[in-house]
């Protein structure tokens, strides 16, 4: 239970320190540190990253959502194809999904040209891949649960009963 609560807080803000998490959960700092260590050791927490609003950066960052359809045979399963694709650093996320296509792949690059070339030269030629459909991200409004707008002003009265 305490691990779950610690996990929720890390997902909310991975920069909470152990002292703050301890205060918020009524755990000891040592218990929090142990919980984090256990989550990492079990491979549940795989890393810590910043949530970035790329639109606020001057240098261009191009992202695309790519639909992939594949065909399988006795030697090659979904995991085999996923393992091959996930090794590319341009691939930021890869998920097997239900519905009209098989894989949902997130790709990042410095330009549309770079992303296009990656799809056409590295992904499409994979023998099991039968179709790719690339959707370029035009704007992002929410990432990892965080809304990317300017936020709402706190227009409450500063002191109220």
């Amino acid at each position: 239970m305490s691990e779950r609560e610690v996990l929720e807080l890390l997902r909310e803000n991975a920069r909470y320190d152990t002292a703050d998490i301890a205060r918020m959960t009524d755990l000891d700092e040592d218990e929090v540190a142990d919980a984090i260590e256990a989550l990492e050791a079990a491979g549940i927490v795989r890393g810590y990253q910043a949530v970035v609003d790329w639109d606020r950066l001057e240098d261009e960052r191009v992202r695309a959502e790519v639909e992939l359809n594949v065909t399988l045979d006795r030697e090659t399963g979904y995991d085999d194809i996923a393992e091959r694709l996930a090794r590319f650093p341009q691939v930021k996320a890869l998920r097997l999904i239900s519905g009209d296509y098989d894989f949902d792949m997130e790709v990042e690059g410095d330009s549309i040209r770079e992303v296009s070339r990656f799809i056409s030269e590295k992904v499409a030629p994979v023998p099991e891949i039968t179709q790719t459909v690339t959707h370029y991200v035009m704007a992002s409004y929410k990432e990892n649960g965080i809304e990317l707008g300017d936020g709402e002003d706190d227009d409450r009265l500063s002191v109220s009963p």
Binding site: L9, N13, R23, M24, R156, L157, V159, P161
Partner: protein
């Protein structure tokens, strides 16, 4: 009354709120972190806002029935039954009001005769006293004490002489202390009320905001919340008005929607005042409230989880700073004491903290007897602000104590 619009005596009898001065000082500066806010820092759940928008798009801008939309009264009936074991029918026993504040005011105006005595368990929300005064009644403060976890006791009622009162006002979970009263705590109070024929006004606006483990709450029966309503105790339904609303748990303060629950005759009396003064609660807000009850339970749970983390954090930090802090179990306030060694009263502490460090808190004496030496600190603000505010309070205490 003269031709010069001289305010009536009962209006003149009510002075400016003790909170006002702190508001004015806070407004002068732009670096203030306010822990003096008595409302959620969340917006109303989107589904509720969307329902309000849709109602406007469909042109639902007429008056509703005086008592409120029937669908909403049915939804309230189901909700209070499921959550708190309160059984009130939508036809006669529920009145939808413009905020819980109107429900409280209606109760005073409907049941308090000039000269009646209204016992108020204090520290308490600051509006009860003026409401009683406007209705022509006399306030009898009943002091709750920190050693009782700010719960009301029969001893406190007897000390105050509440046997002769006509009406008793309870606010649990409590603003400003965060105290909660369990069913067991309420039983002797109910016995006192029955014995001395006291009517009860129970303001339960913070009922959803309780932080004990709900599945282990000994007093959760027959509802599912930790909070217990005095109206569920034997012999209390016929002498109690329960007030609740959507401002706190559903973060709908600005929509102004509340309700009163009570026996048919009592609700009828309150409706008589309401229908002439208000006609009906805001229609748009009623649609939002209906949706809030239908689909926003998860939003409430998520907000309560956030409050609970902040509550633990704030209590922990005050204790680290050396300011004794009662273990508040409800609402979104803690009620720490000014530190030992502070050479002055809580009012001065709060004012200097605001002027020197830009942190607004409210001195406890604003909330009546029992609040002296304490500060009301709201944790209805983000954790980053709370961290910074507590760091500033710590440096203030280190400098002056």
């Amino acid at each position: 009354m003269t031709g010069s619009l001289e305010p009536a005596e009962r209006v003149q009898a009510v002075g400016p709120s003790g909170i006002r001065r702190f508001f004015e000082i806070a407004e002068e500066r732009d670096d203030v972190i306010s822990l003096g806010v008595g409302e959620p820092d969340f917006s109303a759940p989107w589904a509720a806002r969307d329902a309000a928008i849709q109602s406007l798009e469909r042109g639902k801008t007429s008056y509703t029935a005086n008592r409120g939309m029937y669908d909403l009264r049915e939804a309230i009936s189901r909700y209070v039954g499921d959550r708190f074991g309160l059984e009130y029918g939508p036809d006669e026993e529920i009145l939808v009001t413009a905020g819980a504040s109107e429900a409280v005011d209606l109760a005073f105006r409907a049941f308090v005769d000039p000269g009646d005595t209204v016992a108020v368990a204090q520290p308490a929300y600051i509006s009860y006293g003026p409401g009683v005064t406007f209705a022509g009644g006399e306030v009898l403060p009943v002091r709750t004490r920190e050693e009782d976890d700010f719960r009301l006791t029969v001893e406190a009622l007897e000390t105050a002489g509440a046997e002769t009162a006509d009406l008793l006002v309870l606010c649990y979970p409590n603003n400003p202390t965060g105290a909660v009263m369990s069913r067991a705590d309420l039983e002797p109070i109910a016995a006192f009320a029955r014995e001395h024929d006291l009517a009860v006004l129970s303001d339960e606006i913070y009922a959803e905001l309780t932080y004990d483990e709900r599945d282990t709450a000994a007093d959760a029966s027959p509802g599912t919340a930790t909070h217990a309503s005095i109206a569920t105790l034997p012999g209390m339904r016929e002498r109690t008005i329960v007030c609740n609303g959507f401002s706190k748990a559903h973060a709908m303060t600005g929509l102004r929607l509340g309700y009163a629950l009570g026996p048919g005759g009592a609700i009828n009396a309150m409706n008589r005042v309401h229908q002439y003064g208000m006609l009906s609660a805001p229609t748009t807000a009623q649609y939002a409230a209906l949706e809030a009850l239908d689909s926003c339970g998860d939003d409430v749970e998520a907000m309560v989880d956030q409050y609970n983390r902040r509550r633990r954090f704030v209590i922990s930090r005050f204790r680290e700073i050396g300011m004794p802090c009662f273990e508040a179990k409800g609402a979104f306030y803690v009620f720490p004491e000014v530190p030992d060694g502070w050479d002055g009263i809580a009012n001065e502490f709060a004012e200097r903290l605001l002027r020197e460090r830009g942190v607004a808190v409210v001195p406890g004496d604003v909330f009546g007897v029992g609040g002296e030496g304490h500060l009301r600190v709201s944790y209805a603000t983000g954790l980053e602000e709370l961290r910074e505010a507590l760091a500033r309070i710590e440096s203030f205490v280190d400098q002056h104590v």
